[in-house]
């Protein structure tokens, strides 16, 4: 009995230390660098995070003002990513993106991007996004053509409500597609374009 107690006394601190170590954020990012120099979204941390929501962007220009509805100059989307371990390798994630601009009508339908794998997610720590920001991505399917391509998004939760505050941007270099707003004067943090509808919600989990 005494031996069992001694073993338990020894094992308990080791267990606590292991749990604490598993929750400690790792400072090295593993995301690919496919972006151009930006004023924000430069500094990243591997840390547990979750960001959810969707909505509408009116790009170009990507400001908080809606374009005339008849212009079809807008994009709608849903996106979420979750990294519980804080190792920059998300356990879950999904992106659905629709670009309604006539110039992006491909094979008779609006450009429709659908993620097939989310391979990285990291917290961006140098933005003006008050509630948190993330840079994440992976591979997607261009549903209009069946092409597979890599993508990255710049995701910003800048308070409530999401409309007029939060931001989102996407790049798919292989098909020459991007909806990005690289203007430091545009709130909340370039290159994220401002939402004209919907919301992004960042959760710093595990802290």
């Amino acid at each position: 009995m005494v031996r069992v107690r001694s073993l338990a006394l020894l094992a308990a601190p080791i267990g606590v230390a292991l749990v604490a170590w598993s929750c400690d954020p790792q400072r090295s990012a593993v995301a690919p660098t496919i972006g151009t120099p930006l004023a924000h979204f430069h500094v990243f941390e591997c840390t547990p995070l979750k960001i959810t929501g969707g909505g509408r962007i009116d790009y170009p220009p990507g400001t908080a003002d809606k374009n005339p509805p008849a212009s079809h100059e807008y994009e709608t989307f849903g996106a979420h990513v979750m990294d519980n371990n804080g190792d920059c390798s998300p356990e879950k994630g999904q992106l659905e993106w629709v670009d309604h601009r006539p110039e992006w009508n491909i094979n008779g339908s609006p450009l429709n991007l659908h993620s097939t794998a989310i391979t990285f997610a990291e917290e961006a720590t140098d933005t003006d996004c008050s509630d948190g920001a993330a840079h994440w991505g992976g591979t997607l399917l261009v549903k209009n053509t069946g092409e597979e391509a890599e993508f990255e998004v710049f995701d910003c939760d800048n308070g409530e409500p999401g409309v007029g505050h939060d931001g989102f941007a996407i790049r798919v270099p292989a098909i020459g597609y991007e909806v990005m707003c690289p203007d430091p004067d545009l709130p909340p943090a370039e290159p994220a374009c401002t939402l004209t509808g919907g919301n992004r919600q960042f959760h710093p989990t595990h802290r």
């Binding site: 979750k50 509805p69 849903g78």
Partner: protein, 225 residues
């Protein structure tokens, strides 16, 4: 004797109190909810019931989507490029969110009585320690024509009569929740209510009865603390 009673009380409290904390914590975890639903076109008459594309946020999941290149219900509705996307997350600690979008390209209802080109329905709900809100910002109707009249940017719950058919509600908005522990909203961008006259004994019209509904671009979101 008094010390014994005191010790017993402390013992009972030390057992019962943690249980109440656990119960209240579990209750709050169970209450937190995020619901989202979106669809492009819904037709409901005695002869036809159809809703497509249709996305509903599954419990415990963060996203669902559906789409259709074209939908047609003979004599009642045709629509192209339809997408429904719903996202959400129920989190009792950090707050919950739900966002729904439904978008359509060209829409034609009742053989051209109502046409539009570019319909967007957005519903968004959020609840956290410092914010509770629901809104339909981002919703819009492009090139909307009702009975030959161009209608731009209709105010919420705009009603127009459709002689011989019924009436249409444009940008129909309904809110739910108490604004403290729950909040929700539904937006239907075009809602046609099909009606038939009720005739009296002498053949005069004494009222109308609803015989069907056509809804174009519907988005719903709601959250509970």
């Amino acid at each position: 004797m008094r010390i014994d009673i005191f010790r017993s009380t402390v013992r009972v409290l030390s057992l019962v109190l943690p249980m109440t904390w656990l119960a209240s914590s579990a209750q709050s975890q169970m209450r937190a909810a995020a619901r989202a639903e979106a669809y492009g076109l819904s037709v409901s008459t005695p002869a036809v019931t159809q809703k497509s594309p249709y996305a509903v946020l599954p419990v415990g999941e963060a996203m669902a989507t559906d789409q259709g290149q074209s939908v047609s219900v003979a004599g009642l509705a045709t629509a192209q490029d339809l997408f429904a996307i719903v996202t959400g997350d129920a989190d009792a600690v950090d707050g919950s969110t739900a966002v729904s979008t439904a978008t359509l390209g060209v829409v034609n209802l009742l053989n051209g009585l109502i046409t539009a080109d570019g319909v967007v329905a957005v519903a968004s709900s959020t609840i956290s320690d410092n914010a509770v809100n629901s809104n339909t910002e981002g919703s819009s109707l492009g090139n909307l024509v009702v009975g030959g009249t161009e209608v731009s940017d209709p105010a919420p719950n705009t009603r127009m009569t459709l002689p011989g058919v019924g009436y249409v509600l444009l940008n129909e908005v309904r809110t739910t929740g108490d604004g403290v522990t729950s909040s929700g909203v539904t937006v239907n961008m075009i809602h046609v209510v099909l009606q038939q006259p009720i005739l009296g004994l002498l053949g005069q019209v004494i009222g109308y009865k609803t015989v069907g509904n056509i809804i174009v671009g519907s988005a719903t979101s709601s959250v509970t603390r």
